[in-house]
Amino acid sequence: MTAPGSTVAGSARAGSTAAGSTPSIELDTVSFAYPDGTRALSEVALRIEPGESVAIVGQNGSGKSTLVRHLNGLLRPTTGRVLLDGRDVRPIHVARLAGLVGLAFQNPDRQLFAGRVSAEVAFGPRNLGVRGPALEERVRVALEEVGLAAEASTNPYDLGYSRRKLLALASVLAMRTPVLVLDEPTTGQDARGVALVRDVVARAAGDGRTVIAISHDMRFVAESFRRVVVMREGRVVLDGPPEAVFGEAAWPELRAAYLEPPLPAIAGARLGLGATPTEAALVAALVAALVAGN
């Protein structure tokens, strides 16, 4: 929680990412309609505690991207409020919220402009007021996290699409925001890229940061996140740990949202082993069943 007397915006520039300064996030009956009248969110009520790792899933058009754009102020609710640590963020500019909530976009080419990878990564933290050796340190660490340390002087467009995505991720990591939001971080990545993203999420969660990710990869979701929010037509239809959301009781709702549970969950249900959303859970349940059977 932020210290008494300091403002939410003030802590945006503080830069610390210890669990103590990670804010809670709340969407208080948020509805949003685009100027042309399309309803994108309908009375979404969601509360995310500091340090939670949450995956948001759903078909394209279900409101996932619209929702996360409310977290850093790019979009403002038509009705309802967005609260960080209990304070309405409406009066706070996007540029200032950027120090609290870092958003990595799905398409890296919408942000790349620098001639060198290192300059691209430095852009975000520099906007937050970081300079000199501290800035160099942040850039170096961020590039190492995504495996691009050797490409610091390369032109971003000389990298392939999947590595440009990792570069965009590094640009947000370098901002060291207490809340990290990732829009489709694993699409287009090969096995190594997915492993890197998984490690980034684990490390951020381990540091006490709140991590929120939109993803279509149910395996990544089940293995890396403690909470899954399923959206359909602008509403939250399921919200809970992977065991619950991918458990058999939730399958009709999942399928209505055009989603499939990951294979371990399906196998576990077929074998009558209860909720097994991940490989590890399924193996553990099998071992337990064998032991019990003996």
């Binding site: 080419d109 852009f123 937050l128 901002m175």
Partner: protein, 268 residues
């Protein structure tokens, strides 16, 4: 040229034959009318030229049902009109019939008259361009031009450039969102700084350039560079009298300009 029975193969949403007295004119006819309006509005001396154009344009707009939608175009000419009125009324050379005395820059009747006439020309031209834009879908025009031997490349360049506009606007919006999310300040006085333009224009430009190779390949994969004439599926109605009218209007308008310049006939 696609035959009548082949025409019947096309679903209605592809044929898209416009209805209505003015709209159903062939796009080339509408284009000719716009061009002729421009020639007459600016080329014929005196009030008659622009007045005639204005009357024709407004009545055509009424027939086509777009009169109300022309309002924003009329408003768009306002800045130009305002400056014309000011400049001509106050600064017309060699005019001495002063309206009121304001020292060295006094408004004159000659100037005011000239200003009004110039305004009329600009408005007449603006409205005729608006009439054309509002009643002629771009792919109708490009299709007709291509049927008459404008090459597929030219037609494609114009068509895809126009199609690229909403896409580019959308992309620019996403770029602004992305950079704002990285702390770039676009609200407040910092917005004015020149350096702020690079992170905004860069991705739009580079993104568009990076796409060029893939777009080119996609075009090749759809046989865009095949030799010979491209098949034009849609054909819009044209007629002998329209063709004749187009020529007559063009020739007539140029003749009117020549005649009025030569001073042979005195019109108001």
């Amino acid at each position: 040229m696609i035959q009548a029975d082949e025409e019947a193969l096309l679903p209605a949403y592809v044929r898209r034959i416009p209805a209505g007295g003015y709209r159903s004119l062939n796009p080339l006819t509408k284009l000719t009318l716009a061009a002729v309006s421009a020639i007459v509005a600016f080329g014929v001396r005196g009030w008659t030229g622009p007045a005639v154009v204005l009357v024709v344009v407004v009545s055509s707009a009424l027939v086509a049902g777009v009169l109300r939608r022309m309002a924003p175009f009329a408003l768009a000419t306002l800045p130009l009109v305002a400056s014309i009125l000011l400049v001509n009324t106050f600064l017309y050379p060699n005019a001495h019939d002063v309206i009121a005395v304001f020292g060295p820059l006094s408004p004159t009747w000659t100037g005011a008259t000239a200003a009004l006439q110039a305004t009329l020309r600009v408005v007449a031209f603006g409205l005729s361009a608006a009439l054309f834009a509002l009643t002629t879908p771009i792919d109708d025009l490009l299709g007709e031009l291509e049927r008459r031997r404008v090459g597929r490349r030219g037609s494609f360049v114009v068509g895809s450039a126009l199609g690229a506009i909403p896409r580019t606007v959308e992309r620019a919006r996403e770029v602004v969102d992305a950079q704002r999310s990285r702390g770039m300040d676009t609200e407040g006085r910092l917005w004015r700084r020149f350096r702020g333009l690079v992170p905004l224009i860069g991705p739009v430009l580079f993104g568009a350039l990076a796409e060029v190779e893939e777009r080119t390949m996609a075009l090749e994969a759809r046989a865009f560079t095949a030799p010979g004439r491209r098949t034009i599926l849609r054909s819009l109605p044209d007629s002998g009298w329209q063709r004749a009218a187009r020529w007559l209007l063009l020739v007539g308008s140029i003749a009117a300009v020549v005649v009025s310049l030569a001073g042979a006939v005195k019109l108001p």
